[in-house]
């Protein structure tokens, strides 16, 4: 609890969840940042102990990104009815104008790589088509190519008018670094690390070689840096995430497909970590519950319930923040400080040692020197809550939407309604061969807190919040949905099996 965090006015959220989880860093961005950290540690992947210092030097690959995402001229020049030589000429003139500040004027190497301009344009188009968020209006330096291999990885950057590049922690805000720490602290971390390196860091894969050709020699960031801070030495969620990733990698599918599932899985597990830590901090011992509606045409009671479940989970984190601050008042040290000769000063000192606030030089809003311990605590709690709303407080909403868990379809407010993609990821992750449908539902409850059917939702039925039939219908809807996705085989009435199509050898 005494870990000092640089660059913050006070540290409350950081001690509950770590420094830091960030709402705008969606799961795919977290995984990309994670791969960057892994890239600097391929010799000993995911083997850092809780007290080890993990460092990494991310790549920047500015030439590559410029060619792909800051290069609008390729299409128009490609269409022109001029000679190949002229195309190159015109294009390089226009491109050089923008790229000059980055010192990338020399692109003669491209002419050596590609036979003609058309081939060059095709390659660009191909890489763009598989990139993340290519069509979004994010700044070009925040667009990412698919992680085909080690040469396709780079960090998020802000490139200002003078061409100076820096990581402003807008999209790579250290969530990926925390992901690295979490997996390192999982029991099977080293096993996962080896697999990831073997399958995702193969520089000989053809798409990686293409990327490397466009980039030329690797461009790194200036120097090594430390990763963020993760307060928990162990946590069951770390192991769950690690096991899930290992399961996905063991399936019979190309590794690039596996990556898509791994991103969703990371998003889900990180979200649950966020909720679980929040609950624990508030003193709530009940496991996280996510009541899901399987969307159907009619409006059911389950929809209302899933909306309330969403709201209730949404409110968890801010409660935890206040609880954390208030918890200092329960300690012996506080009691002693309050009864000492200088209660205000000593309480302030204790607060400072926990939360890095009030600042030692006393320059802050108001007369902190004259405030009592209780007043200070209240002020800090208010400040922490207010700051929490800006980013940490938005994590639940942003991430649940990103992984396809929450939705506003057919409803006024957001509620939990997993989409097809997420359901597919769940089956791919959880089912080793085939599993009876009831077992599948119960396992989903155990691992991720999902409540869908009447068996898992028995508490809700007993508390008269919903009738059994509505939940039973919800369960039936899930079965039908999974049949439609080719993931469930009905043997006979009330006997169906969830099957993972990426396991069974031979026929479908």
């Amino acid at each position: 609890m005494t870990q000092k965090i640089e660059g913050v006015d006070f540290a409350v959220d950081e001690h509950i969840w770590g420094h830091r989880l960030y709402d705008e860093q969606l799961p795919h961005l977290a995984v990309l940042e994670f791969l960057g950290v892994l890239g600097s540690n391929v010799e000993h992947p995911l083997r850092a102990g809780p007290n080890d210092r993990v460092r990494y030097r991310p790549q920047r690959q500015i030439r590559l990104r410029g060619l792909l995402f800051n290069n609008p001229y390729v299409e128009s020049i490609r269409e022109k009815a001029i000679s190949d030589e002229d195309k190159w000429q015109q294009w390089s003139e226009r491109f050089a104008m923008d790229a000059a500040q980055l010192g990338d004027g020399d692109i003669a190497y491209l002419r050596k790589i590609f036979n003609n301009f058309e081939d060059f344009a095709k390659a660009i188009e191909l890489l763009r088509s598989s990139s993340f968020e290519a069509k979004s209006n994010k700044r070009w330096s925040s667009k990412f190519v698919f992680p085909f291999g080690p040469d396709a990885l780079y960090e998020d950057l802000r490139i200002d008018a003078d061409g100076v590049a820096s990581n402003d922690r807008r999209f790579f805000a250290r969530t990926g670094e925390l992901l690295y720490l979490m997996l390192s602290r999982a029991k099977r971390g080293p096993e996962l690390g080896d697999q990831l390196v073997r399958r995702l860091f193969d520089s000989t894969s053809s798409m990686n070689r293409l990327v490397k050709a466009l980039q030329g020699s690797t461009q790194h960031a200036g120097d090594y840096r430390d990763v963020g801070y993760l307060p928990h030495v162990t946590h069951p969620r770390f192991d769950r995430l690690c096991d899930d990733w290992l399961a996905i990698l063991s399936r019979n599918m190309p590794v690039y497909d596996a990556l898509e599932h791994m991103i969703a899985s990371a998003g889900l597990n990180l979200l649950l970590y966020f909720l679980e830590c929040g609950k624990k901090q508030s003193g709530d011992a009940e496991p996280v519950e996510i009541i899901c509606e399987i969307v159907s045409r009619e409006r059911t009671k389950v929809r209302a319930l899933s909306g309330e479940s969403y709201q209730s989970n949404q409110a968890l984190s801010v409660r935890a923040v206040r609880a954390k601050v208030e918890s200092i008042k329960m300690t012996n040290e506080w009691l002693l400080a309050a009864q000492s000769q200088d209660p205000n000063g000593n309480c302030a000192e204790l607060l400072r040692s926990w939360f890095q606030w009030p600042p030692a030089d006393g320059v802050d809003d108001g007369d902190s020197a004259n405030s009592t311990g209780d007043q200070l605590t209240k002020t800090l709690a208010d400040k922490a809550e207010s700051r929490h709303e800006q980013h940490f407080g938005k994590i639940h909403a942003a991430w649940s939407r990103a992984i396809g868990l929450s939705s506003r379809r057919l409803s006024r407010r957001t509620r939990y309604a997993p989409n097809d993609r997420l359901l597919k990821t769940l089956v791919v992750t959880m089912v080793d061969d085939r599993m009876q449908f009831d077992e599948f539902l119960s396992e989903m409850r155990l691992r991720y807190g999902f409540v869908i059917g009447d068996t898992e939702g028995i508490r809700l039925v007993n508390e008269k919040l919903v009738d059994q039939e509505a939940l039973s219908e919800n369960r039936g809807n899930l079965e039908t949905r999974l049949v439609g996705l080719g993931l469930v085989r009905r043997l006979s009435d009330s006997c169906s099996f969830v099957e993972n199509p990426f396991i069974t050898e031979g026929d479908f």
């Binding site: 050596k112 036979n115 050709a213 006997c495 990426f502 026929d507």
Partner: protein
Amino acid sequence: MSSPVVSSRESTTPPSSAWVRFLRSYGPTPNNLTLFDEFVTDALSKAKVQPIVLGSPMLDEIKKRVDSGIPGSILIAGTAGDGKTYHCRGLWMHLGGVDKDWTSKTPIKELKLSDGRVAVFVKDLSELNDEQSDKALTLLERSVGGEETEEFLVVAANHGQILERLRDIGKRQNRIHPLRKPIQDTFLQHGVAPEGLAIFDLSRTTRRESLSEVLHAVAGHPEWENCTRCELQAGGRVCPIYENRTRALGERDGGLFARRLGEIVEVSRLNGWHLPVRDLLALASNIILGHSNPKEAKEGLMACSDVAKIQEKGSIENASIYGNVFGSNLPTRRAMSRPVFRALASFGIGTETTNASDGLMVYGNDDPKLVQAFNRLLLSDPIYGATPGYLASLQRYLEGEETARVDNGAHEFLTRLIAQRYRFFFTTQDDERDYPYWMMTAFQFAGDYLEMVSALSENKPISEAIRARLVRGLNRVMTGLLIENNDKLFVASSGGFTQSRISVLCDTEVPARRTGGVGMRIKLDPIAERPALDVSLAAGEGNSASFLLSPVRFEFLCRVADGTLPGSFSNECLEDMLAFKAKLLRKAEVMRANRTSEDDEPSPDDGTLTLNFIEIETNGHGFSRPVTVRIGA
């Protein structure tokens, strides 16, 4: 037994009354008869008619197994309506059991056999409480394992029931029950049953012949003889029940009706629908007795006593056998609660149609170009075709009378139109060029599918047109491009996720017809008993992936080949295909890795990378164009 006299005109009870009433009890009435076998035995003795006899080859197998004296127990599995109780009782009687003991209320019955063994019968596992079930399952385990040789178990249960009970007993005993996985695997046809356990899965036994057998047993039943003496048919009057029965038997149309019905039931079966025997009997009963006006036929099923009134009201056409097939005589909810009507509804017959067919039905009577066909196909059937009622309604519809202009005013005629569409499917000849019957269904290519299945099972080559269409459809789904190739198959990727809709990078190309161990082959999968596309990327074992072709998947590929967008036909099929594509790409990935590791010495990296882009010529023909990228060392 007396039957109520309905019409004052009738002085005698129709001779087939008892038989028809018995048959009616098999039909889709609102009663949910779970103890069907008992009910039938009961009704049979009351009606004093001959029973409906169906062959039960499984029963003979079961009897043989027990008679053989091979040690071990018997598990009879199936869904509701498969005949589990029927088979159990059959065995009981065969082994010398008495009917009185069978009908007693005890859920577990014992029978001493002539060879000294004791057979313990559980005719429905779900009737047992936990304690009884544990006892029975313990006996099962011991007898299968060989520890117990004096007693053995004969148990009938649903698939889900037995697996659940085994899981529960396992939980109570803190272990995984050793029989659970082998039984599960046998059900899913992924394994064989252990030595001491004979599993008879009744849901696996329905074959194509099952329907025709049931239809024959019902429509060809000797009790129909009585109808020849019946007043209701005298003097040229038409009895709808007897009319339907005659049509079902196929005496006048050369068995066309039965054949068509057999085809859609077969396609349903190949699509994975399981139609238990009880459902087939319900279908047969409904076909003959169905009538769409519940005021004239109680619950939508006729009895002899209803016929006179129906004849009087002139509503014989409401008993059309063609609509009865789809349960159109029943309220939707009741019909859809039966698997057989759900399965047949998936063909969309009645709502699917072609411009030509509808045009004929609506304008044919007045259009000189069509009148011949109209006479041949509609007027030729005065009972269920273009009846006076139909023609009158058609007239009102075309003339646009006031009533027709009001909301739903056209509804009456449209209902009749639907009835005619039903009829069309079952009555247009095989070689009817202008009105191909499969086009009246949602499975427009089902005819090709059945043709393919029969060609494969006789080891004959399948038609080129069918193969070409499959290849074209496959290519379009794989690449997401509208390419026309039917000479080769593109295994395409987009570089990144394989599930992206458009994939322009050609990973591998294989010929559409297998040569030298490479390429696509269409064969009959022996376990699934369905055709499968087998794509081999290289010669030798383990380099291929298979894709089972159910009628739905076949239809999907053919539609896509003809221009439908994959996502708009069926998302389920698209998902299946993308999973197959991922599998092929994975195989290619593994093959590449193996090939490079098998090299004796690493070949020098010549510093080039070749990417094969798929391009399309103006005529739609796709080809892969290599793009060379010089990487350097």
